[in-house]
Symmetry: C3
Subunit: 591 residues, 3 copies
Amino acid sequence: MRIGVCWYPEQWPETDWADDVARMADLGLQVVRIGEFAWARMEPQRDRWDLGWMDRAVQAIADAGMRVVIGTPTATPPVWLMRERPDVRIVGTDGRPRPWGSRRHTCPTSPAYREESARVTAVLADRYGDHAALDAWQIDNEPGNHDSARCWCRACQDAFRAWLADRYGDIDTLNDAWGQAFWSMTYPDFDAVELPAPTMTVHNPSLELAHRRFASRQVCEGLAVQRDVLAERSPGVPTFTNLYMGDLDIDARAVHRLNGIGAIDSYPHGVAGPDEVAFNLDLARGSALQPGQGVEALGGRAWVVEQQPGPVNWTGDNPAVPPGQVGEWIADAARQGIDTLLVFRWRMARAGQEQHHAALLTHDRREAPAYEEVRAAVASLPRDAAPRERATAAVVADYTDAWILDIIPQTHGASHRTLAVAAHRALRDAGHVVDVVGDDADLTRYDIVALPAFHRVTDARSVTVQAALDAGVTVVVGPRSLVRDDEAVWVDTATPAGLSERLGARVDRAGSPGGWPRDTAPSAVRTADGAVHDAGPWLEAYEVLAGDVEVLARAEGGPLHGLPVVVRRGSLVAMGASSAAAWQSVLERLR
Amino acid sequence: MRIGVCWYPEQWPETDWADDVARMADLGLQVVRIGEFAWARMEPQRDRWDLGWMDRAVQAIADAGMRVVIGTPTATPPVWLMRERPDVRIVGTDGRPRPWGSRRHTCPTSPAYREESARVTAVLADRYGDHAALDAWQIDNEPGNHDSARCWCRACQDAFRAWLADRYGDIDTLNDAWGQAFWSMTYPDFDAVELPAPTMTVHNPSLELAHRRFASRQVCEGLAVQRDVLAERSPGVPTFTNLYMGDLDIDARAVHRLNGIGAIDSYPHGVAGPDEVAFNLDLARGSALQPGQGVEALGGRAWVVEQQPGPVNWTGDNPAVPPGQVGEWIADAARQGIDTLLVFRWRMARAGQEQHHAALLTHDRREAPAYEEVRAAVASLPRDAAPRERATAAVVADYTDAWILDIIPQTHGASHRTLAVAAHRALRDAGHVVDVVGDDADLTRYDIVALPAFHRVTDARSVTVQAALDAGVTVVVGPRSLVRDDEAVWVDTATPAGLSERLGARVDRAGSPGGWPRDTAPSAVRTADGAVHDAGPWLEAYEVLAGDVEVLARAEGGPLHGLPVVVRRGSLVAMGASSAAAWQSVLERLR
Amino acid sequence: MRIGVCWYPEQWPETDWADDVARMADLGLQVVRIGEFAWARMEPQRDRWDLGWMDRAVQAIADAGMRVVIGTPTATPPVWLMRERPDVRIVGTDGRPRPWGSRRHTCPTSPAYREESARVTAVLADRYGDHAALDAWQIDNEPGNHDSARCWCRACQDAFRAWLADRYGDIDTLNDAWGQAFWSMTYPDFDAVELPAPTMTVHNPSLELAHRRFASRQVCEGLAVQRDVLAERSPGVPTFTNLYMGDLDIDARAVHRLNGIGAIDSYPHGVAGPDEVAFNLDLARGSALQPGQGVEALGGRAWVVEQQPGPVNWTGDNPAVPPGQVGEWIADAARQGIDTLLVFRWRMARAGQEQHHAALLTHDRREAPAYEEVRAAVASLPRDAAPRERATAAVVADYTDAWILDIIPQTHGASHRTLAVAAHRALRDAGHVVDVVGDDADLTRYDIVALPAFHRVTDARSVTVQAALDAGVTVVVGPRSLVRDDEAVWVDTATPAGLSERLGARVDRAGSPGGWPRDTAPSAVRTADGAVHDAGPWLEAYEVLAGDVEVLARAEGGPLHGLPVVVRRGSLVAMGASSAAAWQSVLERLR
């Protein structure tokens, strides 16, 4: 794994640069990212380019023997640009443009924004596209962050209608697919479809899902505009877009497939704990795969573009970080197959919003607590990514499934991500090397496959899962799986749909294991050996339909007391509980 | 008690209907409600009526020997109508129309909305008004739900001013009645009165109270428009409007008196627990009484129009429902004198917002968990409402009182509803059959009457209460009682106003029993036998003025330690605590 | 200490007044405040003055031998004025005027508002300015309360840009001072600076700080307009402006220096507990000092203009007040050097927003629980302020520092106020008489000076602190001190900046002592004697750089385990923990 750092020369006196670069090289860093927030410095007025400082910064990095990543600065269009082209602005659900200030104040759909993005990208590509030290281009920065994926402007409204017309052909097809007969929501024509803004109560989840799909695609289209400029003007140089680790507003696989690199910003303090960090790294590692590819095909194509180096400034409490922690995070990333990791950032910012964010140097140019931990990490890691052990297990994690559960959650805390992290944790604890893959991966290559919140039923999914079962793979269908169609409409067959017959059981009751009134104890899970585990935030009970079905666990206490909640028939297991502990107890049993 | 179900044939293939109706009949169901969300299906474009499907659905129900209830679809005007007549839309406190989508996106005052409501009602009345199987009309659906009772549109603003001018005559009368001298709020004329939208801090509670009264009345006027159409075109057929069980935005008695039927939708998971469910059923049972009528006059005039049949989809956590629970809820309704109960709904919705809402059939047409519980209930219940035992106790519950405490709560959790439920629970536990009545009921017929949060002082109320006392009824005046006038202005006499002299005591300190700083222990209640009980969220201490007053309980600990909090003189008891436990201890003592 | 009361004759029948005034005099009250919310009564239409009632009220007070304070009624412009001059209105962050109703619905910057304020003040000054019983003028009432200090109207936008142009001269200076290179926020000109409204994520804290400064100054300018009118038309009569005790939106020292009287409204239930009450009283006592003045210079210049007399109506839960509590609050105020204290209010309001607010008389004119406690206080207190003991300790508390920590808090609960209260509490517990002073006070006169969250570094501060150290004063630099410059930009030297060398140590890690994941135990503090204390909401660890530095405490457990968190070198102590317990343990050690 290569280790590098994010550097903001435009924020510091140029007299500091030589020392900065020398210390980076001394630490053993190999890659330096620059530029991604510097539009106003690059182009202080329209077409008045000021890139001499950047030339010198790039050259300084190169002269020190390091590689450079240049970020396109499209997350922060300057105020002069917003003033000249106000249609660049993102618009809120109330129809009003969001005020300029901070960052990501742009509409992903706006033709003006895409045009300006292409223009600045072209200038940078022409100037640095063939620099010998250029390692990669970063396109934009954390699109989707700060709730910026969805916009309610006129351009988005029009584009949404056009996208719907293209997807459904005629309005009756849409009405049928979404079940608009419910609550008299039938649309007379596509022009009647409004972007979903808050109304009296919730919208049809099918509309919300379409909006998520549309918004994610708009972001991808905008990124593709930049990628195409770079492909033409800086051919052969890798590109990527870094996404915020926990972000579910955009289909990360769609973004990463644009470039062939899975790239995330890894801030452990932004997620619940180490289990979710590990999940996200495995998710990132596999996220640039094309359909049907195996993870090994990636070969050095997973980056952590920003690595937390100490306390951050944006999580509310922002806990301190104990000595050694940063080194462990870096080692974990290497173990999980990350190819390149950049620490964010070189020196703590004196001004602006992130003054409390840790870095490798302090505000006063001291070596920060993580400094020597990074040196040690550089020294101990192999320069080239070690060949990874073959993964023996896979967790399927899908963004569209996650969107549906976010749109219509039914209970607190039972999100797709939460359920997937629990399964991932249990498989790792059972000794597996785990791939996190999409629903179009080849599942036949694993010993065991977990399908937590594998929510939608499609023909392709059925083929994929049946192929795995036919190949002898143990398939664990998790809770909230195979219940809705691709438009978020519930199936009209027994669930898990398409597997119920093979399973010899079907879901009978499902939901929060809690009781009513609210102080009633919830249902837990008792396994065959008598151990009792927390059920997690979601629990499903099965009706057993065949004689050879083995009940591995039953609900204990609470409203579902005594009902079967984990059942097995052959190599197919249905897992109705959602905690890591429940998954662990089942995996134990499957040994 | 008759048992039936809510059916949405417009959401399903017509090929399913025969089986649906046959299974309903086989279950023993007697009544089927249809139509209340189907406007877009009935009238896909203006004046292009498509009612053939509905003709066939009504006939199918009739042919199976069941009765039909038709709901007017005015909770869900279709998008084409909103487009043609945008003044139908409800407007938020920011002066902007709430976006179309979901339901109840209409202004209760809008002349256009009332006109369109009358139009669709007339068409339905003409077509089905004399159908032999027609059992009743449902007018609208849950008006007030989703915070739809109040609207800030121009029509509402004008109507509010006109209503005020009518109520107060001249602006000085209003200024005096509301005490507008406070904070220089004096109005120069009625045009200066704005609908209360959020401002720097709170509005005068008298303004807010007037707004609640106005808004509730506007809703009733709109419902009366439909009722009048039905009375003319479908004479003799009962009508009702179902209100959401916990809803306090509308004066439910005013709504139900329009029709002579108390009709609620009963979703236990939407309220705090079984005590509140029981309270709401008794409240519904008596809510269509005309002034001075006794509850027995109702004779089969209380409906549960929608009964929860398993987990719902809208309470946040949405707990699972244990086996047997639905049957118990139905049996409780019967025991509490409900005449007709419809389970909501027949089959789980595959599309739209309520996919997780339980039903009698599952998405895949299986019999849902509650199916056999309903069959058992039908079989075990008498077909006709059993003559109820005479009620020995009454709780007076008043919507205007509840509004005032909601507007100016003073402390958390001490709402009129909470205090009334505590009193109701205690009376039931003491073995009473309890009526929940309005303040214009005849209280002389009961052994004991509880007046929890009987907040306002009026001449009529004085007459009613003194009459009960004179008749030998034990009257327990609860906390927060008899303190404000009809305009929410505090009285200038000792409280409980009008009873203090008879009581020989007056309220001396009142409020949250909590201490300061916030981790200080609150006051509890110690009864004469030494038992200590939680005081509930509100506590009042009395100053004893006469020698023959008996102190039944004193505050224990906390800021009011040692002060009398329950006192009795003759058959008049003043109850300063607000928990069910405190009420119970007092009722024990009164035996 | 003089004791008085706030009276609202305009809200009561004039027939009550004689009894009111007689009872006030009988209680021994000396001062009565009137008028501050009575604009609509004084001037029911423009230039139609109705002041006869006020003449009679003033005279009644005078005739009873009491002094009168008249408040200008500019917190409540009547509706007729808002209608005539809509540019008086305050505007929200969404650019929309806040609706009229309640109070403080005015823009502090509005020329129309200032003009109208001067007009009403002149009329009152001309009429009562030389009345023999006139004791003082109150200018406005709690400016800043209800989030009224900041307004987003056009006048504020223009004035903000002009203020910035005046402060910074040219836009490049501003860009450099605020570090606008961060996130490409560089402004091309002053017209590009918008008032900070909510955007995608947070604004630059330097912009927010400038906005706080500007807003506070606008309020002061408006108050000065009134003060100037009074100085001209009622010469020699003291003036003050009462600020809400806990309010940090306005620089209270700047307000009180306008008048030379520190004046607060003291509502203990609005703050966390008794420690904060005591802090606020000491803060008020010193808040009218001019730079370099000592607190003894104030001599009878600190007022509690409104004293809580029982439960209030605006804190959410509004706990009951135990017998004796009000008397203790009054005695505490006297002990802490308050000159005049007015109880708010004479009689509980029957109408309007504050009906539940306690008073000396109840709604029904009974003597309220606090009545006799006030009589006892009057009787027991010396009529003239006792000469206070010399203060031996000072806590420096600064509004600009507080603003910065509010703008960019980094963690919950570690505000400037919280940290300052902890230090103040510990000094009082150690037996000190404590002054709370600004950063321009002379610190050489104390034995010990505490600098909690003494956040900014300026040349003047360095001089002040070094002078104290050179004078042999023990200086305890608290957490979050000396880290940012006057524009909220972090320093580029070791911290505590300017003292690190003298201390022989520098801050190495700082932040929330909590761990990650969130259920990890936080760091506590272990002092040299082995005792372990809660660290408070913020903790800093030091790197020791010199051999003669004494480590007084280390972190115990949590992420900073074992690191030094309190260090001393000579008379300079650096205190990295933020709880009162940690401060106490250190003060113990310093004895």
